[in-house]
Structure formats: structure tokens, C-alpha cells
Symmetry: C2
């Protein structure tokens, strides 16, 4: 990991992102495992757990936990919301993979939900995870004023609905097979499909900790920038990474004639734009001082990741 | 409407349920119309509005409003939750109608969502409505303490998820084409597919108004009883009502060899059971006195309705 000038004290130089991410992932996966017990009717709980516990970076929950700590809260305060964010993200993957949508057979190297449980149960598993996410925040969060939790519910709902993820997915579907997608449309898709939920992850961590309006504004801009950078890097990796590393069908965007940042800008300019977004994201963190190390490092990680 | 002995004062005898329901429906439909404006990307908002504004009795929102008033609150306090309940109900109808589920072409005499907008947009319209329901309660409710709103969020999430609607739908799908469904399984399906959301509608009205734990218990039992009665009457009407009155394919359960209460009990015993449930429901309302007139009348209506 590269430590930039304002974070190079001996203590901070020891910050190890891969350990931080591994610990966060372990914490989140233990919590997710406990969040959803199998009971009658078993098939739906199994389907929900199959995708919820299918791995992944757990970036959204880790961002929520990290932001809550950075803003003066504890990880315990944010853990139910962190789990809820992963439930919502998992719902979107299950529904996106359906034959009526992207029709994917594999996800993270495993069969997709509907290939194992059928389209009907996969639709319901997504619905169940989405509904449970809100219930889980409301019931499981301890030590946070109800007003803050309501703000989190509102932000999460907005990030998933037509003003967020769902809206981005609709424009993505409408754009399929069209070679003349504008930069504006492509950016709409990604600010809604990807950045909206990343923003909700970061901002909800701040809200839970009682961050000020000015801080929430900074967190929101940080997240939007890393969200868009994340998607640009995804597009780049789709071209450059092998199927083995990615665990999904590489080059799929090209084959589907999907508009991507590299198709509009070329690979080099795409990389440059991603790095500029990361710099802008990190600039928003400066008032948080040394406690912003994890979020700074995660921003670096997003442009440097190979999968 | 039949006025029973404990509600026969001159003032109460004037209570006209059909006017009450018509007024409630008009109030809810105006609120629903305002709840969701069409913006870019228009197609998803149009799809959401198509089903949300497709008519229906609006029984869930009316129950929520009525219970809130009965418990000492105002209709204004409950209106956003009432709208959210209809959004959730609409989501469940859109997803249930999909080819991967019940594969219905018509609903309330109109083409189903996916027949108009395609399976992909219909799935997303359901997701969007479900997410928006929670956002809407959190953002739009005025004059209610945040703690109560969080309880409503929790109850609504539970009513929709695997512990409610989704769980009931999964067992329903598993039971299709089986002629040996037990009474326990049939009752599980309906207490989860139908009664859970009706219960959330009634109980959330009480929570918003600040009802006591004892009152919430009574409201919950009232709703479970009318929910099950509602489904028994639905099964009866599927056999006895004509397609014209019902606006959907009558006799469909019979053709699909679906287990129903009449198929287990016969028509007469089914009617008797529905009436017993309604009596039990109404008994729970006695401590609320004359202000329980609307909920009492709605219970009567459920067994007497012809569509």
C-alpha cells in the first residue's frame, strides 16, 4: 500500500489494508451467518443464505463500519446496518442474474441463485433479503437514537429504489445492444447501479455515529467518487483480467457490445479518470485526520485491485 | 350492513361502511398518486405507477387509517404508512404474476405489469416499490415519534419477508399440483401470504397512535382472524363468483388443482369457519367501544363481500 505524505507517521505507516479488510470481512461474515437462521420453510432461507454467504469482498459493510468508526462511533453500532447493506447488495445480484435480466449462470465462481433454486425462489429470495434488511436495522441496532436509524432507513431505501439501483438497472437494460450510449447515460447507470449503494454504505456509517451535515456532505462526495472509480476499474478489469481471477465471464461486456468507459475513453484515459476520482475522494477526507486511514486506503485499493 | 347489539345507538346505526370505504379509497388513491412522480428513467416510474394505481379495494391502507383513528391517532399520522402498505402489497402482486411464479396475464381486469413492461422491468418495479415503501414511511410521516416509526418499519419488513409473505408464497409454490395438502400447510400459506400484511396494516395503525401492548395484542388477533377469513372467502368466491364480477379468472384454483378451504371442508363448513373467525375478530375490539365501528364493519364486510 502506498502511504501518501499526510499519513506517513510511523504508526500510520504500519496500517495494513489487507489485514484490515480480512478482519472486516471475517467480522461481517460471522454477523451475516448469525443474521439469518434456517427455519420452516427451509428452502427460502437456504436460498437467501446461499447468496448472502457466497463470499465477495464485503466492501459495502466494511465501508459502513469504517466510516462509523472514523466519525466517532463504534463498529457495534454499525454492524446491523452493515449486514443490511450486504443483504440489499445480494438481492440486487440475485435479481440481476435472472434469465429475465442479465441471464448469468455463474457469480463469484458459483452457480447463480436461480440456477440452484429456480427463478421463482430466486425472485422471492431477493424480496426476502430486501425486506429483511430494513427489519434488521430497526430491530438489531443498539445504542443509536431512533432518529438516526430512520435516516439510515430512508437513505437505504432511496439507494435501492428507482432513484438509485433500480433506476440504474433500468437504464442499463434499455442501453443493451446500443453502441451509441452517451457518457451522460453511462455515468447515470453507474452512479445509480453502483455508486448509490456505496454512498448509502458510507453515509449511513456517518449518520449512525452522529456526523454533522458538513461531514455527511464530505462522506457523500467521497463515496460517489470511489463508486464511479470502482465502476471504471470494473470496466477495465472486464477487458484485462482473466476469467480465472474474476470468477465471472471476462470480456462479457465486449461480447454484449455494452458501452463501457474504456469503449468511450480508451483504456489509458479510463485509468487516468479513475485515479483523478480517487484523489478527489481522498481530498474530502482531510478534515477527519489520521482516523481516515482505512477510507483512504480503501480508495487506493479500488484503483489498484486486480479482481 | 348488519348492526349488532352492542353498536345499535342511533348515531352508530347511521354508520355507512360503503361510504366509509369509498372515502378511504379516494383519500388513499390521491395520496398514492402524489407519492410517486414520473421522472427519468420514466419507464420504471410508469411501471410502478401502472400497478400502484390500478385500483383494488385499498383494504390494507384503509385498515391502517381506521386503526390509527380508533387508537386515538389521526389519519394524517398514518397516511404515509398506509401508502407504504399498498406499495408493498402491489410489489407482491407484480412478482406473483410473473411467468416464473403464477404466470397471470390479467389482474383487476387489466394486463399484468410484466405483460405491459416486460419481465425485467416488472421485477425491478416490484423491487422499487418495496424499497420506496420503507423510505416513504421514514421520510413522509409527520408528528409521530421516531421510535414508533422504527417499530412500523420492523413490523412491515417482517410481514413481507421470509417470516411473512415471501415464506407463504414459497410454501404455496411448493404445494402446487399436490392434492394432499394438509390443513396446517394451507393455513400456513394463508396466515403468511395474506394475514401477515393485513396484521401489519392494523398493528402499524395502532403503533403510530401509541396503542398499549395489550391493545397491540388485540389488534394483532383481530387482524389474523380477519386475514384468514378473508382468504377462506376468497377461496369460496373463486368457486361461486363469475369472472365478470371478480376481474380475474374464476375457478382457477379448481383448474390448477390447488388445495383450498372448500376442497378440504366443503363450501358450507368454509362459510361457517369464516363467520366464526369474524366473530372472534370482533370480540377483540370490544374494549375500543364505539370507535371500533369501522373495524367491526370491515370484518362483517369481509365475509359478506361478493368480489
Amino acid at each position: 500500500m502506498v502511504i501518501t505524505d499526510d499519513r506517513n507517521s510511523p504508526h500510520e505507516a504500519q496500517f495494513d489494508l489487507s489485514t484490515y479488510l480480512a478482519e472486516g470481512k471475517a467480522l461481517v461474515e460471522t454477523a451475516l451467518d448469525r443474521s439469518l437462521e434456517i427455519t420452516y420453510p427451509e428452502r427460502i432461507y437456504e436460498a437467501m443464505r446461499y447468496s448472502l454467504l457466497a463470499g465477495g469482498k464485503r466492501l459495502r459493510p466494511i465501508l459502513c463500519l469504517a466510516t462509523c468508526e472514523m466519525s466517532g462511533g463504534t463498529r457495534e453500532m454499525a454492524l446491523p446496518t452493515a449486514c443490511a447493506l450486504e443483504m440489499v447488495h445480494t438481492m440486487s445480484l440475485i435479481h440481476d442474474d435472472l434469465p429475465a435480466m442479465d441471464n448469468d449462470d455463474y457469480r463469484r465462481g458459483k452457480l447463480t441463485n436461480h440456477k440452484v433454486y429456480g427463478d421463482d425462489v430466486a425472485i422471492l429470495a431477493g424480496d426476502g433479503l430486501l425486506a429483511y434488511a430494513f427489519e434488521y436495522i430497526a430491530v438489531e441496532t443498539k445504542g443509536v437514537p431512533a432518529e438516526r436509524l430512520l435516516q439510515v432507513v430512508a437513505r437505504l431505501g432511496r439507494a435501492v429504489g428507482a432513484a438509485g439501483l433500480v433506476g440504474g438497472q433500468v437504464v442499463d437494460l434499455e442501453s443493451e445492444g446500443k453502441s451509441d450510449i452517451s457518457l451522460e447515460t453511462l455515468t447515470f447507470i453507474h452512479t445509480h447501479k453502483t455508486a448509490a449503494l456505496l454512498e448509502a454504505s458510507v453515509v449511513s456509517g456517518g449518520i449512525l455515529a452522529g456526523a454533522s451535515q458538513e461531514e455527511i456532505g464530505r462522506l457523500s462526495r467521497y463515496a460517489q467518487n470511489i463508486g464511479l472509480a470502482f465502476q471504471i476499474v470494473d470496466d477495465i478489469l472486464d477487458i484485462t483480467a482473466s476469467q480465472e481471477v474474476l470468477g465471472k465471464t471476462a470480456g462479457k461486456d465486449l461480447k454484449a457490445q455494452k458501452a463501457t468507459y474504456p469503449s468511450l475513453w480508451g483504456l489509458e484515459e479510463s485509468k487516468r479518470q479513475a485515479e483523478q476520482l480517487i484523489e478527489a475522494a481522498q481530498a474530502e477526507l482531510s478534515p477527519f485526520g489520521p482516523s481516515a486511514r482505512p477510507l483512504n486506503a480503501i480508495a487506493d485499493f479500488i484503483v489498484r485491485r486486480q479482481y
